[in-house]
Symmetry: D2
Subunit: 340 residues, 4 copies
């Protein structure tokens, strides 16, 4: 462990940026030096809470400063590539909000630029830093669920409609990154069905199906147009099943000792046996995921570690998003993913 | 109103048949005269509870009796056609468990046979006889929801795996019939994705998407392999939205005065407005749906009425099921429904 | 095990009686021979469902029949004593709805009469036959909860107002019998506070506190005037805590590995440590409690066993009820229970 | 409205103090100038988040500064009196955490000192600044509930055990102040039953009953030793009933059109009629209550207004707390409150 301090700049102070400021401000060995946004009122609000943070409306004032070590980007998706490229080329480490870029080509480019400049490129897949998702991964990799059958996720709420990306690009990165992380495999195909309600051509409700090499099917329901907020994932295995309800304040992960057995030896009629065992809720740490993630980013920088949610993890998500767009346009056709 | 009495026979005493016996036994102007099943132990159980009901293992003993006016059929799907055909031809009115038949051709045949014999053919789409679904239909047809956007239904539980039909044929008839009834339109296309877990080739998890002429999208998630029972439908409209949770003992229907408005007149940036108004739960009758339905069947017989869930309503469901099978086989391709 | 059959008569066909008929009708070695009520329409309803059961409006027709072995009484409390006394004296075994009698003297009398006639007197404390309550007793007697601190029960709903007894006599017998059974001790004092809303002098809302020898405090909230149904008991121990929610369809018993530790050795300031461990939900049998109880009653008769909920268990409850009435009248004063 | 600015000092940075700092920091016309605590690490934490706020371990540095207009006190209860007295006498306006003081005498003294110095004394009864409680008060004062029957509140959780006050002093001030505010009357008597678990003599579980002049009974269950957090209040009236569940993220207030009617004119047997009507959930503002309260405090100072939760409101709560202590010592005896 070193005692050096990382000087950070934050770009984009809309919905998510202020959370980055607040959490990085709590990380030891990190100083939030400067914040940048095009809107002066957002800068004023940051200034009111953190009078010691410099503010600017010009990205150049940030990216070219030699005392800045790293930049956290929380701007609209279409701007990610240019901002991150510039930062990496200026020798800054970069944390970038999900999805990492607006298309696969950009994501691949950014990975290469980061490598060439020997800088860290990390993607803000926040949920992978929650104790819930980590516990689920642990259970699955320990074999407690047996053979995995399905991953079914619902992430719906009223809003926030985005002007530039559809609901899949806005919300499904969470579920795709979680599925990838806990299953430990990459999806092989994607199909998607969606609907817009304002003739915008931008789907605000969508159903995405991912298939995985091991036969697992992942289904994701995302919506900006639900009367209530739901964030619930069910994972079914041959031995156990999990319900992960992120709305629950504390009882987020329930493990069900439930399943069905088929007796193939008997010549008698079809007679499945249902196992209805106990339910278990493991204790989970309550630490804010974004703080865990911020600490991880700073730790990677100071100690030359590889981030859990690196550029490749981000690329995988963008591949699935791009394929889902194609499937949407082609009436829900299954689109194969090349995992090169 | 007449004072004649309908003499009823019940065929099939597995899971659902005893419920038919119990409810028809409560209907005035109806006498459950005889019950039929291939398994003697099931007959014994009926005999224990209702010693006055005759029992038989031979359908002939039932269908050819001149004092029997009507037959309720709750046998496996593949037997529906033969049993119902015979009953109609013998001049009996028929109530038949959903789905009405194993394919479209059979359903059309049965409709014709019923017409030719001037007998009632009614399909047991039980949920259309609940106060919840009726209230929802009333709200929608009154225009309270505005333009309809989506119908999203989840009907999952652990079991009951069926040996002969997949989970779509087992569970989705409920959602398809509800969607058809409350929306008041027929679906124009179906796509379906599914998964089996025991190499049976019989999907036990499935996602079905129905499209409707008015642009509405209906998505149905059915499963025999969920750790918990969920029966929840969300219906979104431009003015209001509904959550119908059939698991709730009393608070089944919640009406949300929520939505989003887009201001197309402004030249300013994209800025949707969210409406977060009150929530309302209408009082609902608690009467058992199957009793309402049984009374309706008897009333239709005695007073020459047309049943709400007639053969055509059953045919529409079977069309969607048949199309979903085709879509399943063809990787989720959208299959058009001809509504002839 | 004998193959003799118990011939049963049921008296009182209001709310609970039909449940007795239905469940005893399912018990092997038991025949429900005759049912009795003052209201002919209730008898007609039983006749409709069970044409083979004889009905009568006169208790004498029941109690003096030599072919009747046992009588189940589900009439208003004030009639229990006379009906049960008569039945026992006629040589019938008796199952009697809770509370066993309208006062302590009657309960003691009935116990003696039963002894003198060598007949079984069993009280219908139904909840002691649920898998939930039995699991809780097992956990407590195994020491899993550690030292018991409190038992807190809420049993509220809208209705059913009784004309002759207050809400304590109507609902608290459940909680008192459960508390007695799971704690394994008898209460030493009772205090009660109540309120009526219609100047009837009959409390429809009440709060009862029982103290036990081991320092445990049991608090019971009963009400006929709640907008919603709640049936929830929290039991706190030094090691673990339980929430028993009887409204939950399946997840009724939750065991929390939670608690607080005080470090008395440290000289430093007061600093309790909270233990927030896992939550566990044991699998529970789903069998209807009243059927378990009915089978137990028949088993006790046929095999000369002592019922779990015998007259003494019923007496203990009536003692607490009588004391609660005194406390109500005396402004909530703590009334000591003599446990002779 | 004036443009003057209130300079504020905050004393006590344990659990609640940092919330005061955070919220007052958001109020226009208010500057948090200095924060005070005996523990240096707490000051450091404030300094980290708000480098522009001065910190001190000495109250004198705060209270004697002429540029400080107001002081917010969030220290242990036994220190309230001395700190508030000093502040008022130094000409500062005072906001003080609930309960306002450790006994009635101190509360009366503080009210007088505030009057004598013409300064505002406001008590931090936070819940009275929530949209939920305000909506409930509005409904009750509009007569929508009809005659009020009962107020039943449960406020339980695991922790936070206090070293100096019992659970009644810690938690019941919330319920007493809410009851007083929404009912619009003062309680006339108090009784209390409690239990400690560590021989500390400090009850950590308690049941308090307040009676009101209009016959209403308020029952409050508070506990530091519950496995789960519950914050639920049921209010029953002759016309409607309310459930206020503060744990619900958005659906906090449910209004039930439910009740019971007794027909006194009929000569027929007792036959109450139950009204089971609709349920309504009014839309509620989501603004943080402490921010509303902080703005109210500043507004009262700048514009010479009388605070909603003034010293008298605080005194009423302390009277009830003092009486509950007496009742606890005297075995739950009803203690009359003189409302002089």
């Amino acid at each position: 462990m070193t005692t050096r301090k990382v000087n950070l700049g934050v770009v984009g102070l809309g919905y998510w940026g202020p959370n980055l400021v607040r959490n990085f401000n709590e990380v030891a060995n990190c100083a939030v030096v400067i914040a940048c946004d095009l809107k002066q009122e957002r800068l004023n609000q940051i200034k009111r809470r953190y009078p010691f943070i410099e503010t600017t409306t010009r990205y150049e004032n940030l990216v070219s400063r030699s005392d800045i070590d790293a930049i956290a980007i929380a701007t609209p998706v279409f701007t990610h590539y240019e901002l991150a490229k510039k930062a990496l080329e200026e020798g800054k480490h970069v944390l970038i909000e999900k999805p990492v870029s607006a298309n696969v080509k950009e994501a691949k480019d950014l990975i290469k630029i980061a490598q060439d400049n020997n800088k860290i490129l990390m993607v803000d897949h926040t949920f992978l830093y929650t104790s819930s998702v980590r516990k689920i991964r642990e259970l699955i990799s320990n074999g407690e669920l047996g053979e995995l059958y399905y991953f079914d996720s619902v992430r719906i709420n009223l809003g926030m409609f985005q002007p530039d990306v559809n609901v899949i690009w806005d919300l499904a990165p969470h579920d795709i990154s979680i599925a990838h992380y806990v299953i430990g495999e990459e999806p092989t195909s994607v199909s998607a069905i969606g609907k817009d309600v304002n003739n915008s051509g931008i789907a605000c409700i969508a159903y995405i199906t991912l298939k995985f090499g091991n036969g697992l099917i992942a289904h994701i329901h995302v919506s900006w147009l639900s009367p209530v907020k739901v964030r619930r994932t069910i994972i079914g295995g041959s031995k156990k099943m999990i319900i992960y309800d992120d709305i629950e304040p504390t009882e987020k992960v329930k493990i069900y000792d439930r399943g069905v057995q088929f007796d193939y030896t008997k010549e008698t009629p079809f007679q499945p046996t249902y196992r209805l065992g106990d339910i278990h809720l493991p204790r989970l740490e309550q630490k804010e995921a974004l703080l865990v993630e911020a600490e991880h980013f700073i730790d990677c920088i100071l100690n030359d570690k590889r981030p859990l949610t690196n550029g490749e993890a981000g690329l995988l998500v963008v591949k699935a998003l791009e394929a889902s767009d194609r499937s949407l346009r082609e009436g829900g056709r299954e689109v194969m993913l090349d995992n090169d």
